[in-house]
Amino acid sequence: MKGFPAAARESLQDSQLRRNLGKATQTIRAKRLRTIQELPDWEQLRDAGAAIKARAMATLPEQLERLEAAVTRAGGTVHWARDGAEATAIVARIAQSKGAREVIKVKSLATDEIDLNEGLHARGIEAIETDLAELIIQLAGDKQSHILVPAIHWNRSEIKTLFERTIAEGQDLGWEATAIAEAARKHLRDKFLTVPVAVSGANFGIAETGTICVVESEGNGRMCTTLPETLISVMGIEKVLPEWRDLEVFLQLLPRSSTAERMNPYTSLWTGVRDGDGPQEFHLVLLDNGRTRVLADEVGRQALHCIRCSACLNVCPVYERAGGQAYESVYPGPIGAILTPQLRGLDQAPTLPWASSLCGACFEACPVKIDIPSVLVHLRARVVREEKSSYSPEALAMRAAAKTFGSRGGYERAQRLSKLGRGPLGKVPVPGWSTMRELPEVPESTFREWWSERRAG
């Protein structure tokens, strides 16, 4: 981990990246505004979404037990994982028991978060990403930079070149986006029809019915959740929704906030195992991996309400310039700035809460009204409080200042001394302070001096 300032400084050098991101986020911002304006009850839907999530979190033990019971009743098997290593071991064990050397994967942030592909590779199982953007990342050996479109930093011509070099085996694809999509279709078709084990994430898990929901566009999600004999879904424990009915809210909020569509092309909802239709073995892995740590923070826990739409990334001026990789996490942008430090522990990502101008655009765009600016400020305070080693330069300076300004004599002496700061001394940089800020110009005389001279005169 380089920390956000260093990582951002690097990506800011990349003008192509900034152009690609600027173009994509601008397009999606305009489209999103148009689609949400179509719904007169958008604000009421946001309020309902926020309340459903808060309710689910407040009753989480009960909801998880209901979900487990319902999935089991419907013929599925539920596993619990304290962390990523445990979840990876569970997935690998199931795949191995099927004799699988390959698994096909639907795009899933939870599995990216726990480095599932690397973990499976270490056990001799290759995970094949089937989402177009994830395929780009996998083929290029790159890192994700966006929640919805992990390869958003790649433009059309870069993708074309990559595909021609890899899956299209030297064939010229031309400039049409449809030809790029077709190359991915041809490349993966055979895998969909033959690989016996698939791994997915979950957008929602309904406690009432045991139904799992995957929202997607390309059809790769349907392929993975329908054709293989065995399906393993890895779901963060915060993805549970109490009631079936709650879908009427989220199936409106999510597509309009993420791809700015009235509805995404495909939404798959399945409940355990259906005789003769789809996978005949279904495993649900419920993942903690730091989520309970987030839940323990009364202010920060709202980060768990996130439905991974990425609207906050698309409106964020910091994200648009720094790009997703500067956040050094599968969760970039404003939501990443509050989620990553809490999931991993504040000491693991202490600079991220500052990766924001606190402009509040993210809060306004969030479909479940996560107050990201307030959580950022709260986390900044926590970082300072928890990091407050009494010997940091800032803490020492503040302590000295408190002592000096505590008495009239001390204050006036300090003011006289500060006049030395006029001229060359004022240009001396203060490490970690003056890189981002300018020191104020010290006036020729202080108010106190002026006041006493005025009375004398």
């Binding site: 958003i152 077709e182 078709r189 019915t209 092309p265």
Partner: protein
């Protein structure tokens, strides 16, 4: 593994501490039974919205349906179609094969297309709802072939998402898989712009029957 279960649940309980307020959910948005947010006639709205995602939508009378399907298939060069068990037996110029006994993915891959009905359709979003019932068939049949001809009876079109979710509660409780389809397969992964045609059926023809 039961250890992990107990520990995760205990961590959740510890994190919530002495109890967290459980908010009531305000459901004052447009719910089931209310007109579509965009208003107007639901059949008109469905046709417009479905076409907006580059599905080809035709409005036909019940007696015109067979000819319309045959004509559309001829236009697309589609000859061999799979249907759900109990689907239509014959259409002029087309070979229709029922998915009975259930076919393998490889067999389905050999078809030019699939002809199905649907459980419901949503006007506001232009969505077709498949529920693995008699009209929709198994999930695989509407997924593997590259062409999907879908018959939507006008009476099955509901106004908004809440209407559909309410009507599908039974399917969910019954363990039937549900698939929402809005236009042909697409991706937004290239410069966040919608491009049609990736892994699912790349052509979707919809016949709205009044």
């Amino acid at each position: 593994m039961s250890d992990a279960r107990a520990e995760v649940l205990q961590r959740v309980r510890n994190a919530l501490g002495g109890g967290v307020a459980v908010p009531e959910v305000p459901r004052d948005y447009l719910g089931a039974g209310e007109p579509a947010p965009s208003g107007g006639d639901v059949v008109e709205l469905f046709c417009e919205r479905c076409a907006d995602y580059r599905a080809t939508v035709r409005r036909v009378g019940a007696d015109e349906l067979p000819a319309a399907v045959a004509a559309a298939c001829a236009e697309r060069g589609v000859k061999r179609l799979v249907t759900p068990p109990g689907g239509p037996a014959g259409l002029e110029g087309l070979e229709l094969v029922a998915d009975e006994p259930p076919m393998s993915a490889a067999e389905l891959d050999g078809f030019d297309g699939v002809l199905t009905g649907c459980a419901l359709a949503i006007a506001e979003t232009g969505t077709i709802v498949l529920d693995a019932g008699a009209r929709s068939g198994r999930r695989a049949i509407t997924l593997v072939p590259d062409y999907h001809a879908c018959v939507v009876e006008a009476a099955r079109i509901v106004a908004g998402v809440p209407d559909a979710v309410a009507l599908l509660a039974e399917a969910a409780a019954d363990g039937r898989p549900v698939t929402l389809v809005s236009g042909p397969s697409a991706t937004s992964d290239i410069e966040l712009d919608r491009v049609e045609g990736v892994h699912g059926p790349r052509t979707l023809d919809v016949f709205v029957v009044s």
